[in-house]
């Protein structure tokens, strides 16, 4: 017996309404997170004192920091990245580059450029892939290079933790550039709340389109190509909106692997970076929340809006596909590894708000959104969904997306104002509109694929094709 057309129509409309409700709720929550982020940012900026910060730089009381840079096949950018790291404005820090079994010339370049010789530096006991050698520079620079068998980014970070001796460690991607004062900004919460802050993360921005001279971004501009421009909008939305608000609620679940500072003891006590996931940054932060909440310890995991880490974003669809698939897998793996925290009273803000938000909107979001698109198109073709509901779905999914992206640009303009030209602002606004027509849907599909791969337990990192900062950005 086939179901009656009325029943099919009714069920279809009910499904479509639930999609509309879901997408509206997701956008509304994100919008209010952005509003919260906006007020929090303004309050934070009123408290800033640039003169005092300059004085802080002379203080011997600033904690020491070890910057750990895992590198895998980074021959094109490694020398410039390390040089830029060695030139930061911070009185007490050292740089530890971990060559994670690169197959290209990364190690040779490091040895030649920085005059490395073998060192007898003692290594800690956290388990990692075998270490071939530890090097130090003959020059008067605080650089240590660890050459080890390939074991993935988390394994390389653990090797760096083994070699580091400072109370704070900064995990920085070797394809990223830090602003000169970034380290001081990101260390400030540790000195404002001594013994309480476990980790801090900073804003990551897109370097494509900017002018880079000797490892420093000297002129900020929006990318000339469409793909990096769309990603610029995504980065603004994620960092200025979501993370500021989650940090305000002490429910920040992700400190970007591109730039984060951790209390070394806290990381070691938590068991180091997990090698079983590609989302080691998120997994570690969620684990820290879990441990501290379970032990009822006072703690803070903080997002700092000022420090800027510039990163090269993919300019090819293939590499972007791989990256987004990996990010989504990382999210799924981290959430699944800590599913017990979900709606558990013991885990407070992260358990009641951040994790459910991530599960419902970040993990399941792509599936729901994709189902909505497919069902709406099929519904119109087969005549089971009315045009009115189809238009409504379009309004909530696309128009709200446009408005969220534009809100991110407005937030940037009202708070940080890093893009000086009006032309850049207009380009960003145009991208905020255009990314919702095709690009966002494609990302949704890739994220859905990532969720599927994550649930299947697919492993692997995928290669990122580097062009070098000065090729990708404008050559000075």
């Amino acid at each position: 017996m086939s179901p009656s057309p009325e029943l099919v129509h009714g069920l279809s409309e009910a499904f479509e309404w639930s999609m509309i409700f879901y997408v509206s709720a997701s956008n509304a929550i994100y919008f209010f997170l952005m509003v919260l982020g906006f007020f929090a940012l303004r309050s934070h900026r009123a408290r800033q004192n640039a003169e005092a910060r300059a004085v802080l730089l002379n203080s011997p009381l600033l904690p020491e920091v070890s910057i750990i840079m895992p590198a895998y096949n980074e021959a094109l950018t490694i020398a410039q990245s390390v040089r830029s790291m060695l030139d930061l404005q911070y009185p007490h820090y050292d740089v530890i580059v971990v060559n994670d079994g690169s197959k290209d010339d990364t190690m040779r370049i490091l040895i030649e450029e920085f005059h490395l010789c073998k060192s007898t530096r003692r290594i800690g006991t956290a388990p990692t892939q075998p270490i071939r050698s530890v090097y130090r520079s003959r020059d008067p620079i605080r650089l240590t290079v660890v050459d080890k068998e390939n074991g993935g980014k988390a394994d390389a970070l653990n090797a760096g933790l083994n070699v580091a001796r400072s109370p704070l460690v900064a995990a920085v991607d070797s394809d990223s550039l830090l602003e000169e004062d970034a380290l001081l900004h990101v260390v400030e919460p540790f000195i404002e709340n001594p013994g309480k802050v476990l980790a801090t993360g900073g804003i990551v921005r897109v370097v494509n389109g900017c002018t880079v001279e000797r490892g420093r971004v000297t002129r900020i501009a929006t990318p000339g190509r469409v793909l990096p421009l769309f990603q610029t909008i995504e980065y603004l939305r994620a960092f200025l909106g979501g993370r500021v608000a989650f940090s305000f609620l002490n429910s920040l679940l992700l400190i970007s692997g591109a730039f984060g500072v951790f209390d070394r003891e806290a990381v070691l006590e938590a068991g180091g970076f997990a090698t079983s996931t590609v989302g080691e940054d998120m997994e570690l932060v969620v684990r820290m929340h879990r441990i501290c909440r379970a032990k009822k310890l006072p703690y803070l995991i903080v997002f700092v809006p000022e420090p800027v880490c510039w990163t090269e974003v993919p300019e090819s669809w293939k590499v972007l596909h791989r990256q987004r698939n990996r990010w989504q897998r990382g999210t799924v793996e981290s959430l699944m590894a800590h599913d017990r925290m979900l709606l558990h009273p013991k885990y407070g803000g992260p358990g009641w708000f951040a994790l459910p938000y991530f599960v419902i909107f970040e993990m399941l979001g792509p599936a729901v959104e994709m189902a909505g698109y497919l069902f709406t198109v099929a519904g119109i073709i087969f005549g089971v969904v009315s045009t009115k509901i189809a238009v409504l779905f379009f309004v909530v999914s696309v128009l709200f997306g446009v408005l969220l992206s534009m809100s991110a640009v407005v937030l940037e303009e009202f708070t940080m104002r890093r893009y000086p030209s009006v032309f850049d602002l207009l380009r960003l606004l145009a991208a905020a509109v255009l990314e919702n027509f095709g690009y966002r849907q494609l990302l949704t599909f890739w994220r859905l694929e990532g969720v599927w791969d994550g649930l299947r337990g697919k492993r692997g990192w995928g290669a990122m094709e580097r062009r070098g900062f000065e090729q990708n950005a404008q050559v000075a």
């Binding site: 802080l56 001796r165 404002e192 709340n193 409504l392 534009m406």
Partner: protein, 394 residues
Amino acid sequence: MTLERADRIVVLSKTLAFGMAYVLAIVSFHRFYLLPRLSSRELSLAMSVAFVQCATITVLLLFSFSRKMARQYRESRASRVSPAIREFLGRHASGADHLQDIRDIRVAYPAEVEQCLVEFLRMVRGEGRERLARLVCDLGLVRQWQRRFHSRNLARRKKAVADLALVPREFAGDILQQAMSDPDESVRLHTARHMVSNLQPGELAQVFALVVNGSLVTRMVLAEDLRPYALELAQQVIPAVLQGGETHSTRAALDVLRAWGKFLPLPQVYPLLRHPDAGVRAAALLVLPLVPRLPELEAEVLHALTDPVEPVRAMAVRIAAKFGVSNAVPELVRSLRDPDAQIAVAAAQALAQLGPVGCRILEREMITGSLLAASAALEALQHLQTAPAQTVAV
């Protein structure tokens, strides 16, 4: 980004207020405008949300653009009139009477005159400064700054403090004293920094009280500002804090001494080596090289080498090396075999600092010691070989 409780409440209240206004706007637009025009209730609601959001963003964008334009206009206006204002101010500071001219300019360009005056007050010293300070009073700017200090806006309060600190205290009134009790620590820090730049009798102790009672950031910043007054503070203020018995203040004072890195006559540090708080003991060990060497030094360092708390022991190991405490060798060897890597490494470096005696022990330990002791010994010896001029960092 960490905000204080009061700020968090303000941020949450503003977000809630915005949320309520936003929902009200959507409902009103839906109910009174779109619903009568559209057949579908749901479509009307969705379009209302989209419209209100669009309108909000448009308003914000327009506001943002107009602010940018206004800033540019102000800057160009200032660059046009500032030379003339500076000319008058320069002449006035050097003795000529241009009060009326400046008053006249101020009618049309109040912000520019104020800005130039503040710049001049920062640069000019002596009689010229006094004349400019009187001019500030005559123009009514002091009253304006005093009013500004009572603003709820943090940035305005800080600006008011910075400006008032430039004029003599008899003109500024007790605003700076009030600012030292401001509920916001960043305002107190800001005030203290300005007080230090133009200190009055009795204010040094007041600023130091903020150093020892404030947060670590406040301590770090003010420690640098107070560096020129180290000897003056070491006469009465610091000894009183060190002998006061209050753990937080004692530790803060020791931190300041370490930050200064100056040799100061403070024998009051020695009793703190037996303080019940481990943090104070470790901090006292750190500043030991900066105070006069007393006969009980060796005994105190040897005692610290057996401290139950690991970081204190590690610090004691470094200090023993720094002072070349030869009686400490057995304790250093024991520390080299300590399972805690931090202590083992510090002990190895300390032994390396002791010269041939220590090096022989390290060589022996490389062959017969545990993996940790051997690797620490090897590293210390290599460090000694490659960097003979460097001393162990304390």
